[in-house]
Each structure stands twice: as structure tokens, then as C-alpha cells.
Amino acid sequence: MHDKNEIRVGYYVCHCGTNIAGMIDCPAVAKYAAKLPHVVVSRDYKYMCSDPGQELIQHDIKEHDLNRIVVASCSPLLHEHTFRNAVEKGGLNPYFFHMVNIREHNSWVHTDRQLASQKAMAQTRAAIERVQHHKALEVTQVPIHPDVLILGGGIAGIHAALTLGNAGKKVYLVEREPTIGGHMAKFDKTFPTLDCAACILTPKMSQVKSHPNITLWTYAEATKLEGYVGNYHVTVKHKPRYINEELCVGCMECIAACVYKTPKFPDAFNQNLGKRKPVYIPFPQATPQVVLIDPETCLNLKTGKCKQTCVEACADRKAIDFTQKETFEEVKVGTIIVATGFQTFDPHRIPQYGYGAFPNVFTSLEVERMVNTSGPTGGALIGRDGKHPESVGFILCVGSRDVKTNKWCSRTCCMHSMKLAQLVKEHYPDTEVYIFYMDIRAPGKGAEEFYDKSLHMGIRFVRGRVAEVTDWAVTPDEEGKLVVRCEDTLAGFVRRIPFDMVVLAIGKEPHGDSQEVRRLFNMSCGSEGFFLERHPKLAPVNTFTDGIFIAGACQGPKDIPDTVAQAGAAAAEAMVLIDSGHIEIEPNTAFINEHECSGCKSCIALCPYTAISFEDVSQKATINEALCKGCGTCVASCPSGSIVQNLFEDEEIFSEIEGVLSHE
């Protein structure tokens, strides 16, 4: 119909109900646009994103032989995709479409109708100038490797692994501790149902071990990540147990035979309340059921002088191998789920609570291990002085909700402390139990009822932030006790209450090495350090890197039900990619004009996604389209201007600027 080189623009300004029309005179803007060069059609419409709105575009493309479309409406983050699809259905390359934000960038932030409408016209002119320079671009498809790597073998990693394994996907579950189970393996009864953590966890752990589709690597860490979405190469380091995993049957004869007759070394699983030998198994149901030898404390590994009674005890299986070294292995996967969990707050950071200074100040996790019958005290609650406490005080929000330590709420401590309080009261009905709180947070099913039950059991609640735990006694019944000084804000005075034992409800934080881990996987984190989700409501398990997902407490403090839900969600998101077989790469990537590249290498180190590499043969830089996220850093930095970014070429940007400036 028309000269194919002639630019024919269709312009649409959306009212968005009153969101835009309430501040901008949309008909006037449409009228203004109609007079601009190359504009063939100019309309205003109530809701451009609706079906009729989209059909309007499609109809106009055919009817008026349009080859460029501009929509002035909301943020591209919301509907750029919608309109691109509509344009494509209308028979035009979707990248001949440009979207102008006259809502978040205009009507929602201004209060002068006149000026806002003028600004919308300037924005319109800019967009129309720009879109003329748009080129037809194609979305590239990259095939997805079907295997999955899951980092972290806590309940999140376990659940995600089982879900994916059951769906027929091949999973590598990498856990850096010698056993899977994470924090949940340490718990006794879980709130609010008080069902036993080990009873519900261990069946899942053994399912993981025996699952045909899951390769379980414990005492292993990921050390390198290369490749791009759908095609990752992960290097995994296997730490030496000094035990041949294939041969060990977990009989633990070696532990009994060890030259250390009694356990001497701090037992980390039992929060250092118990002791272990250099050869040990973290807990009886550890999976895999294999012992390990700690090179820091094993006499043989440290001095070379040992009778090696362990080797004698294992004579029939010969599973002990002191020559083991760390090994590295590379796997190819298409998607990765990071489920590395959390670490607990170190209460030494709050010296006024006396942790470490007074023997009978414990953390909630330490008490958890004590009340657990498989723990270091066989289920008895005993102070470090060897005596059973007749009064126990719980202090909540230790390290959390505090500008001096961690600002956030750790989400589970209220319920966790009430659970421990209930267990103490259950085992020792005559023990006086107090909980000192700022707020009691009991969300979720059964939680409020759990709180109610705590009150009925006679657990006493004092609302106030504890100022200090002291051994300064003012009255005779405070002698030899730990005195909790706290303002009882409901009663309106300061109280001093003596206890035999004080328990600190320590909060959750990101792991100490989470910054290294997130850099390894190209993930962002929030200001608190937890891994950042793509969208707090609509994409809680996706990250900003396609193909990499997060689940569980590494994304933010949460309880077991929410962790399992997120693990399932991450598995589903991974399955979306795997089952669709490929991933689409948006074409707004940068590319290097080889003949203009001078090989200066300035761009390579700048790329936050390590998408640029240097070709030794051609001595030029080259960009991996699949890794490039179109951030533009290299484009701006290139001294010879040889890097160009699709959709953000110099011509396109300058014409936009001219468009704004030429609007009178």
C-alpha cells in the first residue's frame, strides 16, 4: 500500500480510568500527537491493556498499514509484554513497539494538570521520535539442561529435591555439613502441633538417600559457577571425611574403639553442650549413615602418632582412609535452587544479657537440644552448674527488632519460645516459667490457640524489653540467682525477677558467608543480607537471574510450613523452565562491533554478569548474549564506542532527548 520505508506511527494514550486521566488531559495529548510527523493514527482510550484496547492496536495495524506503535500509559514493568504480544499478533515485529510511562512518571507524581499534560506531550514527542529508529529484533531461544542443582540439604532443599526427583528430574543435592537435615534435625517437638521434628524429617531424609533421581553429596560445597541460564557448569568440592562412603555401614565401632576413651571435643550439633570424639557421626539418624573424622582433633591426622584402633575396628570393611584428599567435580545443570538456610544471632553481642559470663544463660537452641531426649542430657533440663532449674526466664527478640543489632523480626522466636516453655512446664510442672516479650507474634494455623494454651499452662508473660540479666542481688531471694530487670509496661513499674536459668530467644541472620555464596550465583541481597527475591509478592522464589531460585530461610526468616511451601514453589518454577525445554532471551542485549573493538579489555571487568570474555585468537572482546542482562555498563564504558545495545542505541536515545527538547 505504502512505501515500505515510510514510517507510519500509531499512537495511543491510555486514561487508565482516572489514574492518568485524573491529572492529564488525554484527548488533548492525543490531538497533539496527531499533528506530529509520521503519526497516522492517534487515539485516547480508557483502558489500553484491556482486550478491546489491544484489539484496537491490532485492527489499526492492518487497517492503516502501521509499522510503529507507541502506547502512553503505565510502567513497562506491568504491560510492556502485553502490548508487545498484541503488536506481534497484529502482524508487526514486537520491537517496533515503544511504551511511554505517563502514570508512575507523570500523573501519579504531579499535582498541576496543566504542567502534567504538557509533560505528557513532551514525553509523547520523545517516544514518537525514538520509535522511528527501532529495529526489528528477534527473541533467541536457549535450550535448558534438564538437571537441577540444589544447594543446601535442610528441609527446604530436601523437599525441593524430592518434589523434582518425583517429577522425574535428575537432582544433585549438595550439602556442606556431613549430613542433611539442617536446623530442623536439631529440633525436638515443633510448634504448634508439638509433633516430633525427627519423626517427620527422617523419613524424608532416607527417601532422599534412596531416591533413584537424587544424587546426594554431603560434606560438599559449590565453589565455582560458570555458564549461563539453562546451561550452568557447577564445580563441587568434596571435603575429605577420611572414610570411604561406599564402604562405611554406620556401625560406629570405630567411634567406640577410638584412642580417646571419652569424648573430649565440643559437639557442634549439640550446640557445644555435649562432647564428641575426633571420629564421630553428627547424630544417630545422620544421612548418609557414615561417620567422619575431624582433622583438627584426630591424633593420627595431627601428629601421625596413633595406634589407629579405629582402623583395627573396621578391619572387615576397611572403610577408614587417612589418605583421602579433597576432590573437585563438575556437573552440568540447567537450573539451580539455593536453599542454604540461616545462622543464629550470636548473643555475645548483647553483653548485658550475660551469655558467656553467667553459666546458666542459655540460647533457645541449646535448650532445644537439652529437652530433646536424644540430646546431650537425655532430655533433662540442667544448668551448667549441674542442677535442675526451678525457675526459667525466656527473653524474646534477642538480637532482633533492634537498631543496634538486627532490625528485622526473626518470625519464629515467639512461637519457638512458647513451645520450649510448654515443654519445660510439661516435663517439670513445678518449675516457674516466665516469658519476657515486646509483642507476641503468633500467626498461622493453630498459633493463637498455642499461645492460649501457654497461658492456661501457667506460663507467666511480662511485657517489656529486658534491660539486663544480673547477679547483683538486692533481696535475700535474689542471692545466687540470675535477676532479670525489666519494665513491666502493662503494670507500669520496673521489676526484678530472680531465675535459676535464663533462656535467650536468639534471632536469625543470613549465614556469615552468604555474600560469597550470592556472588557465586549472581544473586542480589536485601539490605539485611538475605537473598533477594524478584518480587516480594508475586515472585518470592525467583531471583533476578533466570534459572536460579531461592527457597527457605536464606530468603528471609520463616518457619517450617512456609519453608516447605517455598521449596515446592521453587521446584515448580524450575520445572516450568525444564519442561518448556528452552528459555527465551530478551533481545535488549549488548553486542560488540568487532571491527571497531580495539581489544582494550575495559569492558570485561565491569560486567556484573561476567558476560564479556576476551577472544585470544581475534584479540577482541565478545559478549555472551545469554548472560547479558542489558544493563548498559559496558556500552557506556567502551572508549571506542564499539559496543551497542539493542533497543538503546545512540540514535534511539538522542532522538528521545531531541523529542523532549523540541516540544514547546
Partner: protein
């Protein structure tokens, strides 16, 4: 080592023995404290509570004079002076209106204050600049058998804890141990002595000091050692009233510099011990 030195009003008045003991002790360790020329009262807690801006101007004049000396740091032994001078520096940084007011006022006197000269406590200088090893070397009369309750008071740990932990400070403890004394566990080491309340509201004010003395006695201390002239005064000067209201808790309270002087072999009179109220009975076994 040379430092600028701000004595403050107390060290020239009721807290005279603090200065009398601090200067020679520091000299023995090779530290020279050069008193500021024409310094003025820092305003202490009183003025800060009445008019913050004027209080900062008052304190800043001293900082301005100190900055002119060219010394690296300003040493302020009195806890209140130490805190006020530090607080003023913080306010000059954080509150533009105060910085402007101070600048204008000082200008009228031909002075200016940058507010960047570190104001340090002598304990800080002893532990970090001189070092406890150097202190130990000077000990000729180790205070063996003397049981000390180290009392820091509040102003050198709150709100700024620059050279020691705010809740469990240990610098004074370690200093006393370096002198050969036994330090008793004292949970009230940073609890307020009552401060100026002993003058304005005697009952609660004295009760604070009473509790400190009572716990020290209970823990078996022979004496309290302190860093602040007002703490020393409160703990030493009201024993009759304390006994009348509650019970006798008669143990002496010394400045740490006096304790150091004794360990270095100086005489009690040299160190101004005769100025204190409580008899120095526990020192009979150790003093020169």
C-alpha cells in the same frame, strides 16, 4: 608523649587529689600533660540540661584553645568534662544549627573550632598509648592482697564507648591487676552513683551510692577505685547520712591515679590521700 590537658573545675577544687596524683604518675610513665591556657568550665551535665547551644559554645571554646596547641589529643580526666567535650564534637558534626551558633560565638572571641581533636580519657591513654607492660615495669610496691572493686561510673561508657565495652568494660580492671591488686567481680561497675542528685534530691541520689558501696562490701572489696571526681565525692563524702538512713558501708574510694601512685612507691600525702573522708585503713599493709 605530650598531650594537651583539660583539668576542669573539679580537679582544681574538690577533686584536687585526682590531679595531684595523675600528673606525677603520668610523668613517671613518660607522659607529659600540658594544661590548656585560659581554659573555662566545660558546663558539665548542668549546663547541657539548661541550654544545649550555649553549653556547646562554652565547651567549644576549650576545644578551640586545645586545637591551637598543635598537640595530637586532648586528655580530660573528669568524666563529665570528657563526656561534654566529646558530645560537643558530635553535635558540631551532626547539628548544623549548633555548628553555626558556635562558629559565630567563637568568632567574636577571635577563635574557631574544627571539632576534630580527639578528646581522650587518661585510662584510654594508659591502656592504648602507654601500654600495661610499661605500667607494670614501674610498679615497685605491688598492691598484693588489696581487693578492689573497679567503678567506671556512667559517663565514660554512655552514650559513647570509644575505648572500652559499654556494658562490660575491663580497662580499669586490667589496670588494677597490672598494679598487683586483686579485682573482685563487681556487677555494678557502670551503674550511676547518683551524680548531682545527691545535691538536689538526696534520698534517691544517696541511695544510688549506697547500693554501689553495699555491693562492693558484699563482694569483699577493701575499696572502690574510680575515674570521676563526682563519683569519688558521692561515694566518699556521705557515709554518715548513708549509715543513718540505711546501714554503714564504710570503705574508702580512691582515684585510679592514686592507686597507681601507691604502686609506684609515692607517698600518701604526695597523692593527696589525706583529702579523702574515709580512712585509708586497707592501705596500711601496702602503702609506702
Amino acid at each position: 608523649m605530650k598531650y594537651a590537658y583539660f583539668p576542669g573545675c573539679s580537679l582544681k577544687g574538690t577533686g584536687r587529689s585526682y590531679e595531684e596524683s595523675l600528673l606525677p604518675v603520668m610523668q613517671t610513665l613518660g607522659v607529659e600533660l600540658e594544661e590548656l591556657h585560659d581554659w573555662n568550665c566545660c558546663g558539665a551535665t548542668a549546663y547541657m540540661s539548661v541550654d544545649e547551644v550555649k553549653a556547646c559554645v562554652l565547651a567549644s571554646r576549650n576545644l578551640a584553645i586545645a586545637e591551637k596547641t598543635g598537640h595530637r589529643d586532648l586528655v580530660a580526666p573528669c568524666s563529665a568534662c570528657y563526656l561534654v567535650l566529646n558530645k560537643t564534637q558530635h553535635y558540631l558534626q551532626d547539628v548544623p544549627s549548633i555548628a553555626t551558633a558556635v562558629g559565630t560565638a567563637l568568632e567574636a572571641a577571635g577563635l574557631s573550632c574544627k571539632g576534630n581533636m580527639p578528646v581522650r580519657h587518661p585510662l584510654d591513654v594508659l591502656i592504648n598509648d602507654v601500654g600495661l607492660e610499661a605500667v607494670k615495669k614501674r610498679v615497685t610496691h605491688p598492691l598484693k592482697g588489696l581487693k578492689i572493686a573497679p567503678y567506671y561510673g556512667c559517663q565514660i561508657v554512655r552514650p559513647y564507648a570509644t575505648f572500652d565495652n559499654a556494658y562490660q568494660p575491663m580497662t580499669l580492671d586490667r589496670l588494677c591487676e597490672a598494679l598487683g591488686a586483686t579485682v573482685v567481680r563487681y556487677p555494678l561497675k557502670t551503674r550511676c552513683c547518683g551524680g548531682s542528685l545527691t545535691g538536689t534530691m538526696p534520698e534517691p541520689g544517696l541511695h544510688c551510692s549506697y547500693q554501689l558501696l553495699k555491693e562492693a562490701v558484699k563482694r569483699g572489696a577493701d575499696m572502690l577505685v574510680t575515674v570521676c571526681p563526682l563519683c569519688q565525692f558521692n561515694l566518699d563524702g556521705y557515709h554518715d547520712q548513708i549509715e543513718a538512713k540505711w546501714e554503714p558501708v564504710r570503705i574508702p574510694t580512691l582515684y585510679f591515679s592514686q592507686l597507681m601512685g601507691l604502686a609506684f612507691g609515692m607517698s600518701q600525702t604526695q597523692l593527696g590521700l589525706q583529702r579523702h573522708m574515709m580512712p585509708m585503713k586497707p592501705l596500711a599493709a601496702v602503702a609506702a
